[in-house]
């Protein structure tokens, strides 16, 4: 191990003292970005956005050209229509891909560091526990948004540039849709990411985290299904977190057609509270675990 006398020069630059979570975030994103499994899962996740992209192109060209050979077909098939509901369905149908990708990137986010005893090194550096946790959570959320909100933006942009009368002013028309897509993506991605991070902070390995998270989701939805069957009340389905998320998506996109519940007397506030409280519980678990590790 050859070492020379003048190896260790003092740093004359400026230390980055703020937004340390950005380093954790970047490290996390770079780490899984290199993984072939991640690349494969991501490719699978963008199949739907690609299909939707062609749908947007086809719909706009057919709608703007009455002589287009596809025009009669597109006018009659309602689900080919490019409107707010399409974005709702797009994000909703991304849910399985989001769950799988988030499980891949998030399951090992904390437990792998614990397994590799990396906390000792990380927390011996000038970094706070909350920088660490924020970085991890944001990285996992970013993966989720990369399959929901970001493709929505691209689809909206594709829609915008293929419109005949598009101008810089018509961009403003997309703002509500951007906001709705962001909200629904967040309602889907954030609880999922927090749940997986909480699992990762509790369970010892990635595999156990994945199995546990899937089991909890299945158990939660099964319980909701059983209750609604036995008690003959479809509204009990709101106990299922995925159904609650879908329901919130409907509300965000003002889809009046009830897809999940028997009646309209379901309280949106209750369901939103349920999602928020679940997310806070997940966050609280992660905070406790990381604080515990940081305290030693």
């Amino acid at each position: 191990m050859p070492v020379y006398p003048f190896t260790y020069r003092p740093f004359e630059g400026k230390y980055i003292r703020r937004f340390r979570w950005w380093v954790v975030f970047s490290e996390e994103v770079r780490l899984w970005n290199k993984s072939r499994v991640f690349q494969l899962l991501f490719l699978l996740g963008i199949i739907q956005p690609l299909i939707r992209f062609f749908q947007v192109l086809a719909y706009n060209s057919a709608m703007q050209d009455p002589n287009h050979p596809l025009a009669p077909l597109i006018r009659t098939v309602t689900w080919l229509k490019v409107d707010a509901e399409m974005y709702y369905h797009f994000i909703r149908l991304q849910a399985p891909s989001v769950l799988i990708l988030l499980l891949f990137v998030g399951a090992g986010a904390i437990c792998a560091d614990r397994k590799n005893r990396l906390w000792e090194i990380y927390f011996s550096k000038p970094i706070h526990w909350y920088d660490y946790l924020i970085g991890k959570i944001l990285a996992v959320c970013f993966a989720g948004y990369a399959l929901t909100f970001l493709p929505s933006l691209i689809l909206m942009f594709a829609d915008y540039i293929t419109q005949k009368n598009s101008s810089i002013f018509t961009l403003v028309n997309y703002l509500p849709l951007i906001w709705k897509s962001f909200l629904f993506s967040s309602v889907m991605v954030v609880p999922c990411a927090l749940g997986i991070i909480a699992g990762s902070s509790i369970f010892p390995t990635e595999n156990i985290t994945v199995i546990s998270v899937i089991t909890i989701i299945v158990a939660n939805t099964t319980l909701a299904g059983l209750l609604s069957n036995f008690l003959k009340d479809a509204n009990y389905m709101q106990i299922s977190l995925p159904v609650a998320v879908y329901f919130m998506g409907q509300k965000i996109f003002n889809i009046t057609r009830n897809m999940f519940f028997r009646t309209e007397d379901i309280s949106t506030l209750n369901i939103l509270s349920y999602i928020l409280i679940s997310s806070l519980v997940f966050l609280f678990i992660s905070i406790i675990q990381v604080r515990k590790a940081e305290r030693g």
């Binding site: 191990m1 070492v3 006398p5 190896t7 260790y8 230390y15 380093v23």
Partner: protein, 312 residues
């Protein structure tokens, strides 16, 4: 600042296990050896100093401030842990790069520092290989590199010699001396005493979570007032030598070998003087003599034996 590390009634317990018990110590700059057997509390002390553990009682100050959640102090500390702490699937370069970023460097500076340190540690040709493929020695180098690449003021090396081959040990000793000459404070823990002795003559002896002694090896030796010390005399006439030395009341026991006599004395000064006088007066013929327990190992054993309750 006079003291780099200062502990005041510092205690740490894990459940019912007391890892560190009411330790008060003031450590100045320089290279300090932290000696103690496994489980003595060395790593606990280091982790408290790094702010990785919260003290159960008392306090610890590094460079005059509490280290815990204190980025200003933490950026001046370097830590080489005892165990391996790696992301196995990434390369050594990448691992060091991210840790440099954690230390607060921007991407450009982090890259520059990592390349420089990897070159200095002769790791350039393997820097893009996954850490999982590294040998024990290479892993140790990576751990050391991350501990010093940000130019810390105080460096904690927890059993850094573990797994190093003899030449790497020599290089590490050279590294510690180099860092010391640059004014760094180095707290170097080990349970292999001769390793520490080669790096520094200032040691802290720790056992069962308590500081047994702190100071120069010779000063620590002076603490051992009543323990007999061992002198080995090489001679062809051991019985004659013993007969002459027996007038010294400080000698507590004697053992013979074919050409050697080993004596235990409570006052080696008087015994050595008597021995010299006998040789000068040609009353005995001696090939050589030496104090057999001058090294740290025996100092440590003596101190530990006086602190371990009988029957344990």
């Amino acid at each position: 600042m006079e003291y780099q590390i200062e502990a005041v009634e510092l205690s740490k317990w894990f459940g019912e296990v007391v890892a560190l018990n009411n330790v008060s110590i003031q450590i100045p700059s320089g290279v300090i050896g932290l000696l103690g057997p496994n489980g003595a509390g060395k790593s606990t002390f280091i982790k408290l100093a790094l702010g990785l553990y919260k003290p159960s009682k008392g306090k610890i100050l590094i460079l005059g401030e509490k280290p815990r959640n204190n980025p200003r102090i933490l950026s001046q500390l370097g830590y080489c842990p005892e165990m391996d702490h790696f992301v196995e699937e990434i390369s050594g370069y990448e691992f060091l790069y991210w840790l440099a970023r954690y230390s607060g460097f921007d991407a450009k500076e982090a890259k520059k520092r990592v390349l420089s340190i990897l070159e200095r540690f002769k790791m350039t040709n393997k820097m893009y290989d996954p850490i999982a493929t590294y040998s024990k020695g290479m892993r140790q180098r990576i751990k050391l590199a991350q501990a010093i690449m940000h130019d810390p003021t105080v460096i904690f090396l927890d059993e850094p010699m573990n797994g190093l081959d003899p030449s790497a040990r020599e290089e590490l000793i050279y590294l510690i001396n180099t860092l010391s000459s640059q004014g760094k404070t180095i707290l170097f823990s080990s349970h292999v005493l001769h390793e520490v002795e080669r790096v520094t003559d200032t040691v802290i002896l720790i056992y069962n979570g308590r500081i047994l002694a702190f100071g120069k090896v010779r000063e620590i030796r002076d603490l051992i007032q009543n323990h007999p010390r061992k002198i080995v005399i090489r001679t062809f006439e051991p019985k004659k030598v013993y007969a002459q030395l027996s007038i010294d009341p400080n000698i507590t026991s004697v053992s013979f070998d074919t050409d050697e006599i080993t004596i235990h004395t409570v006052d080696p000064g008087i015994t050595f003087k008597l021995l010299n006088d006998l040789i000068v007066e040609d009353k005995i013929s001696v090939l050589s003599y030496r104090c057999a327990d001058e090294d740290l190992q025996s100092v440590f054993q003596y101190l530990v034996s006086t602190h371990i309750p009988k029957g344990l």
